[in-house]
């Protein structure tokens, strides 16, 4: 069993291995409880994209983590902000420390190393990100669609907010009648 570290020690380890690649970091504290208040800790770190694999390996060396989620945000610009969230020491009461890694991935080179060699179960997450955002995972074996149908058009990614998005494929389910009329130039 791996040694239990506190949140500062975990952060220190990440800082030591990543060095300058750790662009910014913070420890967030949340107080929980009504009658007995205690604290939970989260590490949020912004890293350089080239150091991603190293950061993940460091986390795996500290404790075999539980992968919370992988997601990404496209704001319509030149980069996709990738977010990886892991939980470590998750079998200990009040002990789970969640580590969230964020980094910018340029749209000109949407390739990331896979983490399925470290954690088999991450395949589901990577396949989802691949079809939803168009990020390629180097080393991912199963590249079939996860949620989208097999005949989904090439080059369309539901979470993208640029020309690769799906705005033109959906109906106006989220717009009010007023908004649609305004767009069409009809009077209210």
């Amino acid at each position: 069993m791996s040694e239990v570290l506190n949140v500062e020690q975990v952060l220190e380890k990440l800082k030591n291995t990543l060095g300058d690649a750790m662009l910014s970091y913070e420890i967030r504290e949340y107080t929980m409880g009504v009658k007995r208040q205690r604290k939970l800790y989260e590490i949020w770190a912004e890293i350089d994209k080239d150091a991603f694999r190293k950061a993940v390996e460091t986390i795996f060396a500290i404790d075999y983590p539980h992968l919370h989620f992988i997601t990404g945000e496209d704001t319509g610009g030149e980069v996709i902000k990738m977010i990886y969230s892991f939980g470590i020491f998750h079998t200990r009461p009040w002990g789970e420390i969640s580590i969230t890694l964020k980094f910018d991935l340029p749209k000109s080179n949407l390739i990331l190393p896979t983490i399925t060699d470290l954690m088999m179960g991450a395949e589901t997450n990577e396949r989802e990100i691949r079809e939803m955002l168009g990020v390629e995972f180097d080393g991912l074996k199963n590249k079939r669609h996860l949620f989208l149908p097999d005949d989904w058009p090439e080059g369309k990614y539901p979470w993208r907010r640029d020309e690769y998005g799906v705005e033109d494929m959906i109906k106006h389910t989220h717009k009010s009648v007023k908004e649609i009329r305004k767009e069409r130039g009809e009077s209210g």
Binding site: Y30, M32, G33, V34, K35, R36, Q37, R38, L40, E42, Y64, H66, L67, H68, F69, T71, E73, I83, S85, G87, F89, H90, T91, R92, P93, W94, G95, E96, S98, T100, M119, M120, G121, A122, E123, T124, R144, H145, L146, F147, L148, P149, P158, W159, V166, T173, H174
Partner: protein, 408 residues
């Protein structure tokens, strides 16, 4: 060379599956050599919809993600939103939310036990367990107005208060379920037939469970002490010191099979009863909403720039939400991870080397999550009048009599 393997598809529509999903197996004789799971038949792009709506609409949209554990997603959503907004629910609301979540755990676990009985062909047991489940559904309807999709939570609190009559009904139900769980232990765990059908079926080792990122009762049955209520407590759970229910604490050994999953789920019902009892006895007084005015709440969300992750231990495992507020009245990024997302990972490794007949069993033992949408069927006559119970019964008897005459 002669063809030695055959391809067997199961689903998306199949009697053993309550939800559309497809398992494609390549078999050599009876042995499965390759498995592919196809998901997405019920994919509705809910996260996409949520990113277009305001946060309160998205909260109730999140309730529609799962038809059974319909409070799990709103719970994770409100926890996340409160973290991002920096607000805290009033103590009374925190306790009420925990009570509702635990009541739901009871109904969900009993539902699962019934489904398992059904998959084994033991339908009498299915009807008996589901008869027991009615009590908690009635209670939830009494408290919230609905048997499912309770619309009970709000960012920064709860929408309905618990009155004296509700608390009396909850205490009543607790007494009922202490007895009912004892019965269930006898019927499920001491039954040699049940044991024979589940021991060593769908066996997951601790190591595999970690690698596959499994969560909830499946991971706990494999001996991993993970439970969000214990690892990252929130609301009333933070006062209670919840401990993960694992087979090694109950019987001293871990198999990680379907029998252990059953055991974990039954003992978790008892744990839920303890939690509800504590919450009801220690229910704090006071208001139930941090920001009672929804317009003010949306305005606060619009002013907030921030992100957070929040988790809730749903009956099936960990539900994780990620939210980012960025100047809109709703989330600009919303990511939802449901327990089945991770737990379906186990099907592939579990099925390889198994036999064709195991497909529906493995599938059902790990994750039976069906949506119970329909609840009341109102029968109307041609002129629009509703038919009451007596008339329907009379018509049934007439029909039976007619069939009997025809058969003679």
């Amino acid at each position: 060379m002669a063809k030695s393997t055959y391809y067997i598809p199961v689903g998306p529509i199949h009697p053993a599956l309550k939800e559309p999903i497809r398992v494609e197996a390549e078999v050599e004789g009876e042995k499965i050599v390759k498995v592919d799971v196809k998901r997405g038949f019920a994919h509705r792009g809910i996260e996409y919809m949520g990113m277009k709506r305001n946060a309160i609409q998205t909260l109730y949209l999140s309730e529609r993600i799962c038809g059974i554990c319909s409070i799990s997603h709103p719970y994770a959503f409100v926890i996340t939103a409160e973290k991002a907004l920096g607000i805290e629910a009033p103590p009374r609301a925190q306790y009420i939310r925990t009570i509702i979540a635990e009541l739901e755990r009871i109904h969900s676990h009993i539902l699962w036990l019934g489904v398992i009985a059904h998959e084994m062909g033991f339908d009498t047991l299915l009807f008996w367990t589901w008869k027991g489940r009615e009590k908690v559904l009635d209670l939830l309807e009494f408290i919230t107005g609905n048997r499912i999709n309770y619309s009970m939570y709000m960012i920064g609190g709860a929408r309905r208060d618990l009155k004296e009559k509700h608390i009396r009904a909850i205490k009543d139900a607790i007494d009922y379920y202490w007895k009912f769980t004892e019965h269930m232990k006898e019927i499920f765990l001491s039954d040699p037939v049940y044991k024979a059908r589940t021991r060593n079926v769908a066996k997951v080792s601790k190591d595999i469970a970690l690698k596959l990122n499994l969560v909830g009762p499946i991971a706990r049955a494999a001996g991993i002490r993970m439970d969000v209520r214990q690892d990252m407590p929130y609301d009333a759970y933070a006062d209670i010191d919840v401990r993960a229910v694992v087979p090694q604490d109950i019987v001293g050994e871990v198999y990680g099979d379907a029998y252990d999953v059953t055991m974990v789920r039954i003992y978790e019902i008892e744990q839920s009863l303890d939690i509800i009892e504590y919450c009801v006895d220690n229910l704090p007084e006071g208001k139930i909403l941090a920001i009672p005015n929804y317009v003010a709440l949306l305005a606060k969300i619009r002013r907030t720039k921030g992100e957070a992750i929040g988790a809730h231990e749903a009956p099936r495992g960990e539900v994780i939400h990620y939210l980012k507020f960025d100047g809109r009245d709703g989330p600009s990024v919303w990511k939802v991870i449901a327990p089945s997302y991770n737990n379906i990972n186990s099907w592939g490794p579990l099925l390889i080397g198994a036999e064709v007949a195991d497909i529906p069993i493995v599938v059902a033992y790990i994750d039976p999550c069906m949506c119970c949408n329909d609840r009341v069927a109102v029968v109307k006559t041609k002129d629009g009048n509703e038919l009451g119970y007596t008339e329907i019964r009379k018509k049934c008897l007439e029909k039976t009599e007619k069939i009997r005459r025809e058969l003679k």
